[in-house]
Symmetry: C2
Subunit: 611 residues, 2 copies
């Protein structure tokens, strides 16, 4: 992952780079660094969060109007000062920052060592720096040309920015697999892994595509392919504004985003769900609707929380539209040589639209002749651009590393797709579509009702904050919610929580049950309710602590569970939109009580742009 920022223009670069890195910390925060040119190449880098770097810069400031900055998420070598970026040439003539993984770094390093190069760090990035240096020296090349020729010999994924002492009015940028964009200001240019570092200065951006490089000078920029061919790029205008990516009075982005869900889910349905007419209208799918309706099979590819949304989508689409759905881990899909035909449709889901494995799944699907549909939050992101059609989530920027409002927006959009297909395929009558559309339209207010019960969840968090393990169990539409509830707790509280389909418990996980194992059951009164109650009895019989999420007015579980959390009643397939809310809050409050860093949990990064 890693966050990248760059600046060239009339301002002092140092402060601008640091404030940009703070916005990018969601992408990695184990060490950070900057390089600024002002006659010499000044490099400062430091283990820890951006704050540590800022302290260092207070003590030893830099000066200059061109510079690069980096916040790291370690891939090769532990987080420390030496492994932090930027990495320099042996003679200090240039420095680079890098996001991604150089896969053949081992072989290159070996050759360089044989040639006498020495290495201070364990990173693949230092290898790349010395490799560029070697290519430059062998043929007496300019810095941009050396970068270009070196990259033609590199395997892997990268976003790179280089800065040169000897050619100081220039930044060299290259992208292959890791997101990078240029911000086009008035007499100044910005570079970022996303637009957040420079959004208050300009909203005009150029998205680099894979295999593209740019040379950015004070008076303009040129984009070309790594093979040297020039490329002409369009300038896009950004939609989000700065206020939207700030905390708005909440202690953490995650809590703000949990609390925003009545609005974000409504936004994901606005202009799309029409209960009166019994209609769903998804403009982004209009042109491919015939192909989607005729699909013999839908394959959903995603990672992490989006994969859980995909499982909820499988349930929705199979139940409402009767199309067979298979849900794949994007990372497995791409290497498994999946069996695809042109009658299959592939739906990919990614909040950032930059998830490396999911993007690879898009390309694999298109290579097999399949229609690729994207469910993406970040407008203009790579996946949004490369898919054949798609539906934006319109959830607004999600900054908290643990995804919350993106999940509910994803499920809401999948429900709309399921309804649209159900109607178009003649599976659902107009009355049924209307009934479901009404239920969907009621969801935002119902989410608010669940959020209003936060105090109960806070009490629960106090009771369970010392647990070191958790199980989450659900069935049917709520099985993905069990997985998602467990993932939330893992991500931000570092408690080992695991989700399972409730009936699988007896095939192994029940061995873990004792008085130290709280078990969260999602037990709404749907088709499998009686079976889930039997599973609750089995846990209770073995001394396990039961926490139940159920629907309003159900008093049956009071005797079996320590806590019963009620959510409003809705149609079975839409339940995940409500049952996930208390689990998001539970993980949030437990993490806060354990003193964990909710918005920047250890080891994680928001947008997984390496494989």
């Amino acid at each position: 992952m890693c966050g990248i920022v760059g600046y060239i223009g009339p301002r002092e670069a140092g402060d601008l780079l640091v404030s940009g890195l703070r916005r990018l910390e969601y992408r990695g925060y184990d060490s950070a660094g900057v390089a600024v040119v002002n006659g010499a190449l000044d490099v400062r880098k430091k283990e820890g969060k951006v704050d540590e770097l800022a302290k260092l810069l207070d003590a030893r400031p830099v000066s200059g109007t061109v510079g690069v900055g980096h916040t790291r998420w370690a891939t090769h070598g532990p987080p420390n000062d030496v492994n932090a970026h930027p990495h320099e040439a042996s003679d200090g003539s240039f420095a680079i920052i890098h996001n991604g993984i150089i896969e053949n770094y081992g072989a290159i390093k070996k050759r360089l060592i044989e040639k006498g190069y020495t290495f201070e760090s364990e990173t693949d990035t230092e290898v790349l720096a010395h490799f560029i240096e070697d290519v430059q020296n062998e043929a007496d090349l300019s810095f941009p040309e050396a970068v270009r020729q070196a990259l033609t010999q590199v395997d892997g994924a990268y976003g790179i920015v280089g800065i040169s002492r000897d050619d100081p009015d220039m930044l060299v940028v290259a992208r292959n697999g890791s997101p990078l964009l240029l911000g086009i200001g008035d007499g100044e240019y910005f570079i970022g892994s996303d637009a957040s570092p420079f959004i208050e200065y300009t909203r005009n951006v150029v998205y680099l595509s894979d295999g593209e490089m740019a040379v950015v000078r004070r008076d303009g920029y040129k984009v070309f392919q790594i093979d040297g061919a020039p490329v002409s790029k369009e300038v896009h205008a950004l939609e989000w504004d700065l206020e939207e990516i700030e905390k708005g009075g909440y202690e953490h982005f995650m809590l703000k985003e949990i609390m925003e869900q009545p609005h974000s889910v409504a936004d994901a349905m606005r202009g799309r769900v029409h209960p009166q007419e019994g209609q769903i209208r998804l403009g982004g799918l209009q042109k491919v609707l015939p192909q989607l309706v005729e699909a013999e099979r839908i394959v959903i590819c995603a990672c992490g929380t989006s994969w859980h949304a995909g499982l909820a989508g499988e349930y929705l689409i199979e139940a409402l539209a009767r199309v067979p759905v298979e849900v794949e881990y994007a990372s497995e899909f791409r290497y498994r040589n999946p069996v695809l035909t042109e009658r299959d449709v592939v739906i990919v889901i990614s909040q950032s639209g930059e998830t490396a494995d999911t993007l690879a799944a898009v390309r694999q699907a298109q290579g097999a002749g399949c229609l690729a549909v994207g469910l993406v939050n970040a407008v203009g992101s790579t996946i949004a651009r490369e898919t054949d059609a798609g539906v934006y989530l319109h959830a607004g920027p999600e900054i908290g590393v643990a995804s919350t409002k993106a999940f509910t927006a994803q499920v809401a959009v999948l429900a709309q797709i399921a309804l649209l297909l159900g109607a178009e395929r003649g599976v659902l009558s107009q009355d049924e579509v209307r009934r479901h559309a009404e239920a969907l339209a009621a969801i935002p207010a119902q989410i608010q009702t669940v959020l209003d019960g936060e105090e109960q969840i806070r009490r629960m968090a106090r009771d369970y904050r010392y647990a070191s393990n958790f199980l989450y169990l659900g069935r049917g539409a709520n099985f993905p919610v069990a997985l998602e509830g467990a993932l939330k707790l893992k991500e931000i509280s570092y408690i080992h929580a695991e989700g399972y389909p409730a009936a699988e418990m007896k095939h192994g996980p029940i061995a873990l049950i004792d008085q130290f194992m709280p078990v969260v059951f999602i037990a709404t009164r749907d088709a499998t309710y009686e079976k889930v109650v039997s599973n609750i009895e089995e846990v209770a019989a073995r001394g396990g602590t039961v926490i139940a999420i159920t629907d309003e007015g159900n008093r049956d579980l009071d005797a079996l569970a320590e806590y019963v959390v009620e959510v409003p009643k809705t149609i079975d397939a839409l339940e995940p939109l409500l049952t996930v809310i208390p689990l998001q809050l539970l993980s949030y409050h437990i993490a806060v009580m354990r003193g964990a860093d909710v918005d920047q949990p250890r080891n994680l990064a928001k947008s997984v742009t390496v494989e």
Copy 2:
């Protein structure tokens, strides 16, 4: 689950029932009891394993030549003396033992309490006993007729045996969803959840089907449906013998079964895999082969370890035969109203052939007009009888609750099916079939090589025995092995271990990584090896402990991993047959060192015959 035994004949019943219960302990072991008639109805029951019951019977013996015995796996109410079976009528005129779940017990109990009945236990079984009593008293019925009429009003799954003080030369037996069979001796009859309690007395058995009852008297037995219609049953001859279900010098059944795998995998291929001819011959599939070859999609349904084998099968069948495969939890499949067409083939996998959810999946598949194929170990089991065709595993009896040799036999059979389909569908040339068949034929000796390395695994177990959490990561064919390795550790050591596809780690689980989290990587040099090595670097960079399973001669990981376990090289898709072996041994040795009861882990039972 629960184990059931019954006897009527010339012998003393007490000792015979206890020795039968010891054989059935794999089905449950939290409490046990017997009832014997000899003028009065003598009931003895005790919390704990069968040994505790045996001590009680030494102190207070029973006498009589007709009796029933039960070893419990708790569903309703914790394990204790009162909740143990048998449960009696209020006046002690009869007793019943029961395996399964009465789903409408709450409503029935409420009615009975209104009529003045009192309850000592929290079980659904006591409710059934009083309900039978009530039906009997209301209409002055015989005991068998009262059982029959009561059962027509009961929802749920059960295997029941009743014994009456007033009509003592008789046992009443009923089955709906839980396995029961009669052993037909010479002037004596046996009843069992399986044949193990009476295999030394007779090998002639009658399998009861769902909805059937039997009245067994000293001079013969009658089988009829619960609606009263008579049924004529065939007598089958059993294949396994007693020696096969004993430990053969090993300390635990599980270790014996791990060590047997060179033989059991060979048995699963014997007469089926013909490398010279480049042919796979599976007699059990012959009659349905055309339908199987034409399948548009294969859906695999299973639970627990068998579900993991199914995932390995997905990889094998998609890679070698290019048929799309979907793997479903049987418990989810049956309630999800899955989208099935007559061109889909459903393969179910179950060691015991009695797994309740898997059996329900068979019926659902057949109801949708699909061909249902069974991969089953226990010959004559319900799933073997109800599927349209199938392949027996021939792994021999598996007694250890944690499945080991059944898994490798299942994967070996799935590999054969993949090869057969690949050949028949023209995806594989005869040469490719030959090459794969040779690789398969080499597996048993390669497993032996891995087993010969047991000493290294024992050292690893010493190093990691105090860990309280574990992660297991793999990709492609080895992702199911990661899940299976984690499940083994959960089941018998009660360590919270979790499996993940390696690339998903970055989407959440990596937050759990610190110096207390050992991570087992299956990192063989296949198509995704480089990516897995990147994941290993990421774990190492965060202080996690790495244990690597790789292929022979790979020294790349020595610097990154605390232990590197090598397995012989085979074809990618067959790797699970080798990589799973060290993980089985690791879980076994850790569990032994932690003092856990390997063959009878807490809370579990071998054959999950309730939902």
